[in-house]
Amino acid sequence: MLLELTPDQEVFREATARFLADRVPPEVIRRLRADPAGFSPDYWSAGAELGWTSLLAREEHGGGPIGDAALVDLSILAHEFGARAAPGPLASANVVAHALSTWGGEAHTAAVEAVLSGESLATCALGEPATPGEPAGIRVQVRADGGDVVLDGTARPVESAAGAGHILVTARVAGAAGLAQVLVPTAAPGVTVTPMRTVDLTRRFFAVGFDGVRLPADAVVGEFGEAGEQVERQLQVALALSCAESVGAMQTAFDLTVKWAFERYSFGRPLASYQELKHRFADMKTWLEASHAISDKATAAVDAGAPEAAELASAAKAYIGDYGTELAQDCVQIHGGIGVTFEHDLHFYLRRVTLNRALHGTPASHRARVTGIFENLKEQA
């Protein structure tokens, strides 16, 4: 997170922090493991009132940023979500709000307003990020058929699909190179939603099958077959939010463990007095500050639509993916046995960074993306 928030940002952060501390303290998160959705509907709609879903949408849809940089503001929320291992599909919902509000048509107005108000949940299936020269990992096909579009295939993992009214689906256009995005009601005939298992306690993922799902053409978001760039933009938003969330989780895991090291004694000395542990804390602090830095820089670039946004977002994802889990695992190690028990909170944060490491492309796939972008950059230079 940024070292300095504006007063508006601080008010905004503080409201959500208080809300989360009140509504989803650790003992509640532990219980939510058994909840099919991972959270209650009123939790999400109350969050929407705090602005969780509206920052990236246009004002005419009831959205709007609190400052100049909507995604930066939203990343402060995402950081708070990570720091408290909060439930809820923050990134997915915001990607949908952003997409519908930016590229959607008249037909999507009702949906975007319902998402913004928290009245209805929407999620998205973006697919894995594309490496330059390589196809993205998208396994849904769409074809135009008369005035309709028809979808076939499977998207996975799709967050909160079972509780969502709509899924924004990214699909390959059959027989062509392009992509299209379609807003699919989960109630549409031919849609099947199958739960998956996951490392997180409160986030839920699903495999969503599309078997000849037929929708009117105005379900398409943006231009049919020309959605590559908007998908890339949405992916960058998702990456930025996922990174900010992971950094929040890293921060809490680190803080918990520093505290433990001061309080826990072994051989008559606090753990914090052992040089080998001290040096590991120094490394962790370095990874942590580096993760804050690259996360914030990538977020600002994505927010500004800067040319370096794609590379920075992937660099952040690769770095935070690797070092976020290393940091959290080292926190577990320093805690010892208690750190792998269900009763301790530490695993909440380990789960969150583990999830985010493997979601939206692994560190290795993002390194490949960085190499491709960097290579193109150098060839142009």
């Binding site: 894995e128 998956m196 490392v199 993922f205 004694y265 792998v340 028990t341 009763e343 493997a358």
Partner: protein, 427 residues
């Protein structure tokens, strides 16, 4: 005791023994399926299934005893076979790929039975060793405490003399399966006014004794294999004391030696290439194949790394064992093996997670080998925590093997009562 063919000189040769073991094993034990119990402590069994598995382990142990195949290196006077470590190794090789009484090996045979053999009275040995070899007694270590972590000699569990008995109060933790076990080997403090190591005494007690409350601990992945015991005014007769009063650290030192050495102990059956409770390189191949990534050079590099680490480990452990046997390496070199194993296991778990790709975040039940690898990754550090942390192993290697100066301990030479203990307790 049992009937079995022996050589002309009355001692069964390794090869005779091997042949007999092989025949019996093939006739009586179930071959394991590939990758049975792969992964990091996955919660695959219900409590009922776990109890049935424990019962089966006891049953196999009893059958082994009746067949003259139990306690291979235990003294005959306590029901053992009195054979050599080479016989045990032959047995390990023959039982590889078959079910075996896994829950009785560690800590029952080593360190617990090993400690009884070394420090127990004749009565204690006659009472317990044969019962252990018949599968009638499963033992646990009442050693770690919530407050002490790696510093096991800082036990707060207290034993106070009361006539011919002792009264124990305190809590022990990280006992595997205490809820289905029978006896505990317990380290307790009998004197608070001397330095840490000089006020300890070792006792044995039935886990069902009055005042022992066994609570199961839930791990982050839902497995409830470990327990914590709360002891409240537990009465133990002085005849169940092991070693001298306040001299428990003499026992404890050997106890921990047997614990560190347990994987190569002659008292313990450990199949050579068991893929149980770990992620081996063959599982990496399966994940790669299952996710369609076996042709990806990055994935092949990871599989190769896992296989290399595994092959190197398989070369290292015999070298260390030989070196310790011949005296070319310090006895403390076992810590090198512990360190290698821990680091290797965490790396293999990470490799599995990386190969699984997106299936490490969320997986479907039909994802095959990639399923649950995300959950294994969450449990990764158990390999470098359980059975003594790798940090402690590094201390041992540097201080005991390389002879480097010991860490300053602020509790040294100080009455234990006055040692700073910090503000928190935990595991």
């Amino acid at each position: 005791m049992s009937t079995s063919a022996v050589g002309a000189d009355g001692v069964e040769s390794v090869e005779e023994f091997r042949a007999r073991a092989r025949a019996w094993i093939r006739a009586n034990l179930r071959p394991l399926e590939a990758h049975e119990e792969v992964g990091i402590m996955r919660p695959t069994r219900t409590d009922e299934e776990e109890l049935a598995a424990v019962a089966r382990d006891r049953e196999i142990q009893k059958a082994l005893f009746d067949a003259g195949l139990a306690g291979i290196c235990f003294p005959p006077e306590y029901g053992g076979r009195g054979l050599t470590p080479a016989h045990q190794r032959a047995f390990n090789e023959e039982i590889t790929g078959y079910e075996y009484p896994q829950r009785l090996q560690v800590p029952t045979f080593a360190p617990c039975a090993a400690v009884l053999l070394e420090f127990g009275t004749e009565e204690q040995k006659r009472a317990h060793i044969p019962a252990i070899l018949k599968g009638e007694e499963i033992w646990m270590q009442f050693l770690s405490e919530p407050s002490s972590g790696s510093d096991v000699a800082a036990a707060l569990t207290t034993a106070v003399r009361d006539g011919d008995d002792w009264i124990l109060n305190g809590s022990k933790i990280w006992t595997t399966g205490a809820w289905w076990s029978d006896w505990g080997l317990c380290l307790a403090r009998t004197n608070w006014d001397v330095p840490k190591h000089r006020g300890l005494t070792v006792f044995i007690l039935p886990i069902a004794a009055a005042g022992v409350d066994v609570q199961r601990i839930e791990m982050l992945n839902g497995v409830k294999e470990f327990c914590q015991e709360f002891m409240t005014d537990v009465r133990v007769p002085d005849s169940d004391r092991i070693g001298e009063v306040d001299d428990g650290w003499t026992v404890g030192t050997r106890w921990m030696f047997h614990e560190r050495m347990s994987s190569g102990s002659p008292y313990v059956t450990s199949p050579g290439t068991s893929a149980h409770h770990r992620i081996g390189p063959d599982w990496l191949l399966d994940i790669a194949r299952g996710t369609g990534r076996l042709d990806d050079p990055l994935v092949r590099d990871l599989v190769g790394e896992g296989r290399v680490l595994d092959l190197v480990g398989a070369a290292l452990h015999p070298r260390l064992a030989l070196g310790m046997t011949t005296g070319r390496l310090s006895d403390q070199a076992a810590a090198i093996g512990r360190l290698y194993s821990g680091v290797c296991a965490t790396r293999l778990t990470t490799i599995a997670f990386d190969i699984a790709g997106g299936a490490g975040a969320a997986w479907a039940d039909d994802d095959g080998a990639a399923s649950d690898v995300g959950a294994d990754f969450l449990m990764r550090q158990t390999a470098t925590i359980g059975g003594g942390t790798t940090e402690m192993a590094r201390n041992v290697v540097s201080e005991r093997v390389l002879g480097m100066p010991r860490e300053a301990a602020l509790d040294r030479g100080r009455p234990f009562r006055e040692v700073p203990r910090g503000g928190r307790s935990g595991g």
